[in-house]
């Protein structure tokens, strides 16, 4: 998927993460801030990159503010932000396909 316009998903509540995606031109540029950076920074980064790859996002500026989200929450928030940026988050989501 292409990042068409800036979009956000998630909150800054505990156990959640806020993800912002913006159009980019130099591959994936990831900016990560996390309340558990020392323990889980690498894992969070890997999950976010993996999710973007599965969605076929090649170029984007991605900002993650993590508040201790589980992997499943990170995935959900990244996917929602990407689909929102393409105005495609409301229906016909490929559950079990690119979203899994």
């Amino acid at each position: 998927m292409e990042i068409v316009k800036p979009a956000m998903a998630g909150t800054l509540e505990s156990s959640d993460a806020q993800i912002m995606v913006e159009p980019g031109e130099n591959g994936i540029e990831l900016f990560l801030k996390s309340s558990v950076m020392n323990q889980y920074g690498r894992q969070i980064k890997a999950t976010v990159l993996e999710t973007l790859e599965r969605l076929g996002v090649k170029n984007a500026r991605v900002t993650v503010v993590d508040k201790g989200a589980l992997d499943c929450t990170l995935k959900a928030r990244v996917e929602c932000a990407v689909f929102r940026s393409a105005d495609a988050s409301e229906k016909d989501i490929p559950w079990g396909g690119a979203v899994r």
């Binding site: 156990s15 959900a76 409301e90």
Partner: protein
């Protein structure tokens, strides 16, 4: 991926706790509270502009979190909204045990949802008929059509009343003796029993009024409800206590079932236990008591 066992249409459902599907902090460990069912909410708890985000969150929760023996039901948005079809797709794809139809007013509403569920089961390769349904009656029309709703589909396992909306329609407020909803609760119970499905009462929203809550739960039990919807984990224990059979009831039920088996083997249809007349009509009730007692951890027999 956590594969969930096939949902049981009839199981113990004393407590059904509502949770906002959009809040990861709530849904990630909802199974620890010990309620019989959790109700992940896509409807009123989720703001209109977060319906999409709630679905992504719900999908991954269903696929990733091991809820163990806790039943997972999802409340979808009303049929008068643009959301319900995608809600159904995500519920079925994620493998929710059941779907709660909000603001149900007719058998046709149930059939409309059933059709979409069936299409989703086919789309996502889910066993046909796996996804159960329940209806929430929230309006006078829903209560008047309770029986046709309860009997609308073999997927229907239960029906619940939603007090907030119903009282608004009826221009009343919660009363200490429950008279505001007495007729509606009664009519819904009769309809559910006639159709052979379960029946659940509405939430009690004033968390500071424990006495009022307890009075309502006792009335629910006396009226014959199977369980109650809850909004807070601290409400679970009391409902489980009230809905558990007493020691006397368990002993009596055990005696009745044993005596019935002996007597019917000897060709006797009606007999007495402790001076009370017993025949086949008492058996389902006694068996139900024993099953409930076992589920509550109060009985370990193997009669049922």
């Amino acid at each position: 991926m956590i594969p969930r066992p096939k949902p049981e249409r009839f199981r113990l459902r004393r407590t059904m706790m509502f949770m906002n599907a959009q809040k990861p902090g709530l849904i990630k460990d909802a199974y620890i509270y010990g309620c019989d069912s959790i109700m992940l909410d896509l409807e009123d708890a989720v703001a209109e502009n977060q319906k999409d985000a709630a679905r992504f969150s719900l999908y991954h929760a269903l696929k990733t979190i091991d809820y163990g023996g806790t039943e997972v039901i999802v409340r979808i948005n009303g049929l008068d909204t643009p959301h319900w079809q995608e809600d159904i797709r995500v519920c079925v794809a994620g493998g929710a045990d059941g779907i709660r139809i909000a603001k149900c007013e007719s058998a046709q509403d149930v059939l409309t949802v059933e059709k979409a569920v069936e299409a989703a089961e086919e789309e996502f390769g889910v066993e046909k008929g796996r996804t159960l349904l329940m209806a929430a009656l929230e309006s006078p029309k829903g209560i008047l059509n309770a029986y046709e709703i309860c009997a609308a589909s073999p997927r229907m396992f239960g029906v619940a009343i939603s007090g907030g909306d119903f009282r608004k329609c009826m221009q009343t407020k919660p009363q200490p003796d429950g008279v505001d909803m007495l007729v509606a609760r009664g009519q819904m119970l009769i309809a559910a029993r006639a159709a052979g499905i379960q029946c659940f009462d509405t939430v009690f929203t004033n968390l500071d009024d424990q006495a009022g809550f307890e009075a309502e739960v006792l009335q629910n039990k006396a009226m014959g409800f199977d369980g109650k919807s809850l909004i807070n984990p601290k409400q679970i224990r009391f409902v489980h206590e009230v809905f558990a059979p007493t020691e006397k009831e368990i002993l009596q039920a055990e005696k009745i079932v044993r005596a019935y088996r002996e007597q019917s083997a000897a060709g006797v249809g009606v007999f007495t236990v402790d001076g009370k007349m017993i025949d086949i009509a008492f058996i389902p009730g006694a068996e139900r008591t024993l099953k409930l007692a076992r589920a509550c951890g109060l009985w370990e027999g193997d009669l049922v």
